[in-house]
């Protein structure tokens, strides 16, 4: 992977309220570095309604508009329209929504905006659950994972929704997966997204120590294992059709990823094998899409 420089400017100030070791806080720092100063960030309800701090303070050094949980795609559409009317084509509009705000309750507004090919970048900060409200399951929660609404006695019965496929089928110009263990890759994708007009979608995996029941110092490691185990492959989709897969040289069994996380602590060997089988299947499917 080509190394690219990471700007030293910080647009997420000190004193924010994210938990120790929050993967998303690292993700936010990197994303803001990539975005620069002329950006309007839109925040549908999520941990990020709280993290920047309480009025009259905010840790953001860029414009931040907090919005209703459902409304990421719609609020950003309106902001973009108004900036266009004012003749401001310099300011970038970027939504930062959680997996709940993207896969679930905000999907309709996002789908509407993507179908209209609204000109903004949508970052789905995926921590695989409703973390702000205390780790309830979302449709991004992985199969058989523990959450407070999928207790160990009845862990999540359904696999994670394939949001990338959904976004690709809207034929948006650009969609990419990224995660904090690969900062240069994340920045490269952000740069690429910035150079395109229309709806651009970044699916950012951000481990969450309390929600995933992992020690706060291993977020980056977990994020790397997610890629190496192919639970979360890194890839790009252009125009909804052209898939570019980033092959991982050091592939590890899914077990390596699962065993470090308390939310999978209850899994039996056969359940882990089942997850491995599904991960292999998804990888095959992705490869087929990349080939054609």
């Amino acid at each position: 992977m080509k190394k690219i420089p990471i700007p030293i400017e910080e647009n997420l100030g000190r004193g924010h309220l994210a938990c120790a070791g929050c993967g998303a806080a690292i993700g936010m720092r990197l994303v803001l570095k990539a975005l620069g100063e002329r950006v309007v960030m839109v925040f549908p309800a999520s941990c990020w309604s709280i993290i920047p701090g309480f009025w009259p303070y905010s840790s953001f050094r860029v414009t931040a508009i907090h919005a209703g949980f459902v409304t990421g795609g719609a609020t950003a559409s309106g902001i973009r329209a108004a900036l266009d009317v004012k003749g401001d084509d310099e300011t970038l509009v970027v939504v930062w929504g959680g997996d709940g705000g993207t896969f679930d309750i905000g999907l309709q507004a996002l789908s509407g905006a993507a179908e209209r090919n609204e000109d903004f970048i949508y970052i789905c900060n995926d921590n695989e659950g409703y973390m702000n409200t205390g780790t309830q399951r979302s449709s991004a929660t992985p199969l058989m994972a523990w959450t407070t609404t999928t207790p160990v006695a009845q862990p999540k019965e359904n696999p994670k929704k394939d949001i990338m496929a959904i976004m690709a089928d809207h034929q948006i110009p650009y969609a990419a997966t990224a995660t904090i263990a690969y900062p240069e890759d994340l920045l490269r994708k952000m740069e690429k997204a910035k150079g395109i007009r229309g709806t651009r979608f970044i699916h950012l995996l951000s481990p969450c120590p309390p929600g995933w029941r992992i020690p706060s110092e291993i977020c980056v490691k977990i994020s790397r294992l997610a890629v190496r185990s192919r639970v979360f492959p890194l890839y790009e989709i252009e125009k909804g059709r052209i898939y570019t897969l980033q092959e991982e040289k050091r592939v590890v069994p899914v077990k390596e990823y699962l065993k470090l996380q308390g939310r999978f602590g209850h899994l039996s060997n056969s359940q882990i094998e089942e997850i491995q089988r599904r991960v292999d299947e998804s990888w095959d499917r992705l490869q087929r899409k990349a080939r054609c």
């Binding site: 508009i65 309106g78 009317v85």
Partner: protein, 384 residues
């Protein structure tokens, strides 16, 4: 220029003349011809207006919240289920102090499905911090939109302009359509008190602790309290330009009437005829049209009803478990005052049933012949 146009066309003209910059809407009967007309006018016109054809009413309002935050003039229109679906965002618009103007075409809410006129949709949004103005005819619809932007942008609260389904929305009437130049002289471009400058970063709608939240709400109440005075000034200016005036309320009919009939929306036009006829028959009655529902014009009404012994209120809405919403607000508004007229609360015309002159006469005769209502709710035109 006089033209014969429907209420919904009057809305579209009002929007275009106000030089609205972002429109965002989702279709619902009987609002649809507004979005159709606007699509045409915007597609053909030379106006700098963006029309976002969003996938729901919730998104329509959310998009305007985004656009209005950036400081442009915004508009949407909806009705009934669409308005109910927006509910969360109605609170957001007023909480964020955004001067959005919306038209709601009054329609009943199902089930059972019903597309006809009834005020239950807009009145069930009464606590969302929106100013609400009810119109009686198509001229008033156009004029009220122009005034709504002035009021909204001064007090920094959103305004809902309300008109009856079909009776206005789809009925043609002659309307004096002012020229763009005339409107420009009355309605200057929107100049937000806090300009949006991405180069000077700010955070909007940030989470607020109990230490401060309370005061944010207090300020909304204070802004509401300014509405009467601001509206009066806006109407004075409007009068200078266009020679028309409406008021928060309007009293018509007999001078020293013992009985007053209170209505809102198009029922008022029918009531005017009935009141005139009864006066000719020697019955001393008068009418009060209530145009502004929020903030409720308690002072104006108290003034207007001085000396009356009885008030007959016709509500084209129902708050189940209580009764008519205008009657309920009226009781609350008059309670602290000296004058305590007897209030006859009639419910009529739900789901678009016609409120005929005969029914209005029946209501007046009932009130005249009873010292007290026999029931809390008097059902007018109900099939028993």
């Amino acid at each position: 220029m006089k033209k014969v146009i429907t209420g919904n066309q009057a809305v579209a003209y009002g929007v275009i003349l106000s030089r609205v910059e972002v429109v965002s809407a989702y279709p619902i009967t009987p609002q649809t011809t507004i979005v159709e007309e606007l699509s045409e006018l915007i597609a053909n016109g030379r106006l700098n207006t963006r029309f976002l054809k969003v996938e729901s009413e919730h998104s329509a309002m959310a998009a305007l919240i985004g656009a209005s935050t950036v400081g442009v003039r915004c508009f949407t229109a909806t009705s009934s289920h669409g308005l109910a679906y927006m509910h969360e965002m109605l609170h957001w618009a007023s909480g964020a102090r955004l001067p959005i103007v919306m038209v709601n075409v009054n329609r009943a809410i199902g089930p059972p499905w019903n597309i006809w006129s009834d005020q239950s949709d807009s009145l069930s949004q009464r606590d969302t911090g929106w100013i609400q103005l009810y119109c009686e005819n198509n001229q008033e619809v156009l004029d009220t939109i122009l005034q709504a932007y002035r009021i909204a942008e001064i007090v920094r609260l959103p305004v809902m302009v309300v008109l009856d389904a079909f009776v206005l929305s789809h009925t043609s009437e002659p309307v004096d359509i002012p020229s763009m130049e005339e409107v420009d002289r009355f309605l200057p471009p929107f100049c937000p008190s806090y300009p949006f400058e991405p180069e000077e970063p700010k955070a909007y709608s940030v989470i607020t602790t109990p230490e401060y939240f309370f005061e944010f709400r207090y300020k909304i109440q204070k802004a509401m309290e300014e509405v009467s005075e601001v509206s009066r000034k806006v109407e004075d200016e409007f009068y200078v330009h266009f020679k028309r005036r409406y008021g928060a309320i309007e009293r018509y009919g007999g001078e020293k009437a013992d009985l007053l009939l209170l209505t809102s929306g198009t029922v008022t036009s029918t009531s005017r005829l009935v009141v005139k006829k009864l006066i000719e028959q020697g019955i001393n009655v008068a009418g009060v049209k209530i145009k502004r529902f929020r903030p409720f014009p308690a002072k104006e009404i108290s003034e207007a009803i001085k000396g009356a012994e009885k008030l007959a209120v016709i509500d084209r809405n129902l708050s189940p478990g209580v009764g008519g919403i205008f009657a309920q607000e009226l009781r609350a508004a008059l309670y602290p005052g000296e004058e305590k007229p007897v209030i006859f609360g009639f419910i009529s015309g739900l789901g678009g049933r016609d409120i005929t002159p005969e029914l209005i006469e029946e209501a007046i005769h009932y009130a005249l012949s009873h010292s007290q209502p026999e029931e809390e709710i008097l059902w007018l035109g109900l099939k028993k």
